[in-house]
Assembly symmetry: C2
Homo-oligomer: 330 residues x 2
């Protein structure tokens, strides 16, 4: 666990130089329809085309490469996750030729378990999430535990998605990203500071998983006792950490998104951008839409579309009601 | 209606030079997982990112631009379609500043009707498909009727998708495309002749909509009396035409695909490529998979992924059963 200190924005640039030959430079997409209807210029950074199908690859490989630079690359790493972090750690370990043990609660989808094994990791299935976490901490005695967000190198790595977008198409007026444990939004905040003093950075979170938003408003970390069952499964974390809260405090605001809005924008972005995006990834657009409606017209907006890994059962929840009735409804 | 003659492959090159500044150069995608599991190098030409979300834009704009070159651009055009051709003709007319009337049977989805209107076309809804066709022919007395496939410039235009892929990543050993009325596969065949004498070109068609495959086998055009209700709605045409049959006769083979295989590959390509592809677009991969299983290993394969326009109800049909169980099942 790295020491708690506020990092300089330059760590994102350092991370990018470290990881760029391992990762994909993901595309920045636009929809003419959205730009026209919303009188905005919106850029979607599509991390579904990142290694393992999500931004999580960036933070995982950055952490390992930084350890390697310091001659501290461990022989074995361990992680627990039911989501994209599992695959990201397995993939990063494979890149550097080290062993990974990934502990996955049994609620995880078979396809994610298979993908994690496919990267050569040992996979241990536990009944519950808490058991997975406990086992990982036990194993951390002789393995390096790579946490999903509470680590400086993870945060700096996640920020490289926004950095790529700024290098390619800045100057943005506002940047939106989803917030689970806070690694992505913290890195996105830091990356933005490299390029602009004026750009606003907003976090977006499901209404029913609004622990980070509450923490931001009250100044004290708010914590769920059980995982909130939002369709945006990337944001089901119980709380942010002291580390990510340092950056979250400095954001320009939070947008809380209803489950219906998440599904609405998942459908529309799938249809208009022709991409397979997970519901968590629709949060940014939902937040941007509210911001535009507050009167922010003719702005250049960057939205981090975090990933594209979806379970079959989630597709059924996304599409059971049709929101693609009529374009003017946008 | 243009005269029935066999075109030279060079018409595709001419078409491309004519249309390239109007259309998108769509990406050629790969999946490391598919390439590894199938011991092949497969390139997916993703026409979902074409104007209007499907290859149909290519043929429509080529036809109008060719008329314009000959100083025969009409003031008004008409077309009938319940699918991507409707939007393609509306879009092409808008590009050239002429009026379009699109006649759409009421079974078409609201989103496709809205998109067609959005391109500035007049839309007339008829109760049945036959009425749409009849009305279009009636209107063709004082408007140019732009047919979905039975026109030389449409065929040449559709071939430009394969041409782009050949220019970017040839040399392919085999090329696969879906076959509805035959415009896309005919153009794809012609484009391939520009680059290789040896490359095989295969058509793929749903088993329950196998009129073209039957025509190929028997040497006589086979015709359905009612639209076969395959999930691959781009192939619900009743028959190919004499014009497209000229090229279809010269193909190296047909693969007939079950509805389950269509859904299976729609799911896997959505998941692995992170794209929103319509079921018709999964036909090519399903055919290639059979071809590989026949012993064609370590080949370079081009697959035309025809489009990305899907109705909400179709998503429910795609995802009601989960085929993403385990990667080795691939």
């Amino acid at each position: 666990m790295s020491q708690l200190k506020l990092m300089q924005p330059s760590v994102v640039k350092t991370a990018y130089n470290r990881i760029k030959k391992y990762i994909n430079k993901t595309p920045l997409l636009q929809s003419e329809t959205i730009n026209m209807k919303l009188a905005s210029k919106i850029y979607f950074k599509f991390e579904g085309l990142q290694k393992v199908g999500a931004f999580k690859a960036r933070g995982a490989i950055n952490t390992l490469l930084h350890l390697k630079e310091q001659n501290q690359l461990p022989e074995r790493i361990v992680a627990y996750s039911s989501g994209n972090h599992a695959q990201a750690v397995a993939w990063a370990a494979q890149q550097l030729g080290i062993k990974a043990t990934i502990i996955i609660p049994s609620l995880a989808s078979p396809i994610k378990i298979a993908a994690t094994k496919n990267y050569g990791a040992e996979v241990i299935i536990t009944k519950e999430r808490q058991q997975a976490e406990d086992l990982a901490h036990e194993k951390s005695k002789d393995s390096f535990l790579l946490p999903p967000y509470d680590h400086d190198d993870v945060i700096a790595g996640q920020g490289t998605a926004a950095l790529e977008a700024w290098e390619e198409e800045g100057d943005f007026d506002a940047v939106f990203a989803p917030c689970g444990g806070g690694g992505l939004i913290s890195g996105t905040y830091l990356a933005t500071q490299l390029f602009s003093e004026n750009a606003k950075v907003y976090a977006t979170e499901p209404q029913i998983a609004n622990d980070a938003s509450q923490s931001y408003k009250t100044g004290t970390i708010s914590r769920f006792t059980t995982s909130p069952m939002t369709i945006a499964d990337g944001t089901r974390t119980l709380s942010i950490s002291e580390r990510t809260f340092q950056y979250i405090k400095m954001l320009h605001g939070f947008y809380e998104i209803s489950e219906e809005e998440i599904i609405y924008w998942t459908q529309w972005l799938t249809h208009l951008l022709k991409i397979n995006l997970e519901p968590t990834s629709a949060l940014g657009m939902a937040g941007a839409f509210q911001w535009i409606r507050e009167g922010n017209r003719n702005k250049r907006i960057l939205i981090i579309v975090s990933g594209g890994n979806i379970d079959a059962s989630t597709y059924m929840k996304i599409w059971e009601k049709n929101y693609l009735e009529d374009i003017p409804a946008l």
